[in-house]
Symmetry: none
Subunit: 188 residues, 4 copies
DNA sequence: GATGAATGAGACTTCATTCAT
DNA sequence: AATGAATGAAGTCTCATTCAT
């Protein structure tokens, strides 16, 4: 009764978009899962595409906030990397679908400028981190535009695999994965 | 006349599926791009989903063949890694869309068992490679099911970024990326 | 506060029905323009169609009253015609939308019996006037059922054209139009 | 079999638009009456509004052609008027719905520029006729923009009334109506 | 074998109407 | 009494698939 229908719709859409993709998810499906009438969705979102972008922006916002929150700006590069890695894992564990959803819907055909800009803020954050690390001679001297997908791609695919249940998510696993990712981008 | 209509259809579908995704690609679009009638597609493929799976299997086949071909089974782990990495890059350069298409359509909702099995053969190949490397104390001791997405995710995202034009694909770049990926999975 | 909500709704509906037509006018549109809640409309009118008919009947009532009011029952046919013509013009000037609305919604699909009956009273009034004129040998000997649409059609179309701004509504214009209409139906 | 589906659709739409109006006519209704699938309509017309405009333009074309055809350009004004009047009646008799449809859908909300332009050609034709008559001192000296709606309105309403079955369409009737209309616009 | 016109199921979306507040 | 959020029936339109040519 006191539940927020807008939230219900976003939550239902998140699950369905993540599981089936935007195009294969119908508005009635979302309405059913959110337990609202189909027309209600249009009281909160102009259309399906706007719903996607609202959802995307909220997810990216929460994702990026999680990463920025408590970032050790004056710590070592290694400490900063540790923070980023564990906050990503933390977010992916707590908001399993949101994390998958973001990566699987990074599509200029679906996202408006605002959405793309918001995701790029995260990329910029990563770029700054990498460049500072390179200036200190700690991060490997490759274009950050290459290092970012290497690191981000590895983490996303790993967490996606974990989400699928292929591997068990233990602390040891993530410690090992962090090691791998750090080795991927640091100077040897 | 001597051109193979089946091939034309598969080629057109490959480009469209890669660029727009399966659901956002219509059969008439494929027919147009393949310069055949819409009905003709149904003489070669039972339906759109079967077409996708045929395409997927042919792409995975070519991808996997590229990697297996000339694999230095009796070389060092490092040499084997080099082979795998450069064959993936080679394939991605030569068959840009096929490589993107495979990763972006790894979806159990769309793929039949046969298709999934075929992709898993590649995963199994990678697993065997990693386990042998671990037995020799060269590859980092993490579950291969974790190492594979780390390596594969990094490569896919990097090549996808290159395909989008964000970074220029030079030999130096790929040499650097190989270094990163190798460092990610090797023992230190 | 002291304003009558029922009147506000009718007034808003009149403007919208006239400008857009019944089918293209939505209940929320009416509610917005009337500055009431959508649900409020249903406290005053059973449904949209009933609202239309109430509005129609009130408009026809006011229209017919304007014409009957001060009708020179014992004047000459020409004087009576003058009265009718100028009262129609007077009404159309004072209640621009009401006049347009009546003619544009003379549709048996939308109007109930009561509404049609009410409009027919005006037609009957015109018929009586014409027949009496014919009996005096002043009005042209054509079926009143033909003379009425000729006269009414001419006036309605003329006033509609004026409403659209194509011609400027001056006293000279209306004097000329009266002349035309009178010539149309009188004996020569 | 050999029937033209495009024609069937236009014919069905004409009947329904005339009887119910554009907004109250659904695409499935048109499809049913045309005995085609609903989707077929969209093979011939981009959307419902385009269908309306195509239909409108074809109707106006036929209407205007009927009037222009055999117009006695070098005859007397009275002869020209006779021609126009009888060709309108002729058209309205032969294409009952087309004639009603044109007048009832003269709505800038529905018609595109092309459609409006096409109808204005008819208006321009009438204007030229009236001005020439005025120059010869035969047509009443009122703005043609006022005379046109008077004449056109009278004829449309009369024919609409006849179409509704209120009056019987005899040659005598139309002779009388022509007399009325001519008297309405001529000099006395 | 090849075609593309035709189809109708099902998608997105609107809106008249209801009802809890 | 008044509201406006909520609903779902029904509208417009798309597209995978069929089939007569």
């Amino acid at each position: 009764m006191a539940t927020n229908k807008r939230e219900d719709i976003l939550q239902a859409a998140l699950l369905l978009f993540t599981e089936r993709g935007f195009d294969a998810t119908t508005v009635p499906m979302i309405a059913n899962n959110a337990k609202v009438g189909a027309g209600t969705i249009y009281r909160y979102f102009e259309n399906k595409e706007v719903l996607l972008n609202c959802l995307f922006q909220e997810c990216v916002q929460r994702f990026f906030n999680t990463i920025r929150q408590g970032f050790p700006g004056s710590g070592t590069v290694r400490q900063q990397f540790h923070h980023i890695f564990y906050q990503i894992v933390h977010f992916a564990k707590r908001e399993r679908e949101a994390f998958s959803f973001i990566d699987s819907h990074l599509n200029p055909r679906l996202l408006n400028e605002e959405s793309q800009k918001m995701f790029n803020e995260f990329i910029d954050f990563m770029r700054v981190f990498l460049i500072k690390g390179q200036e200190q001679g700690i991060i490997y001297s490759l274009s950050p535009d290459a290092l970012i997908p290497i690191f981000y791609g590895a983490v996303v695919k790993l967490l996606e695999t974990a989400r699928a249940g292929v591997i068990v998510e233990t602390d040891e696993l993530f410690a090992g994965v962090e090691e791998c990712c750090w080795n991927a981008i640091r100077v040897h």
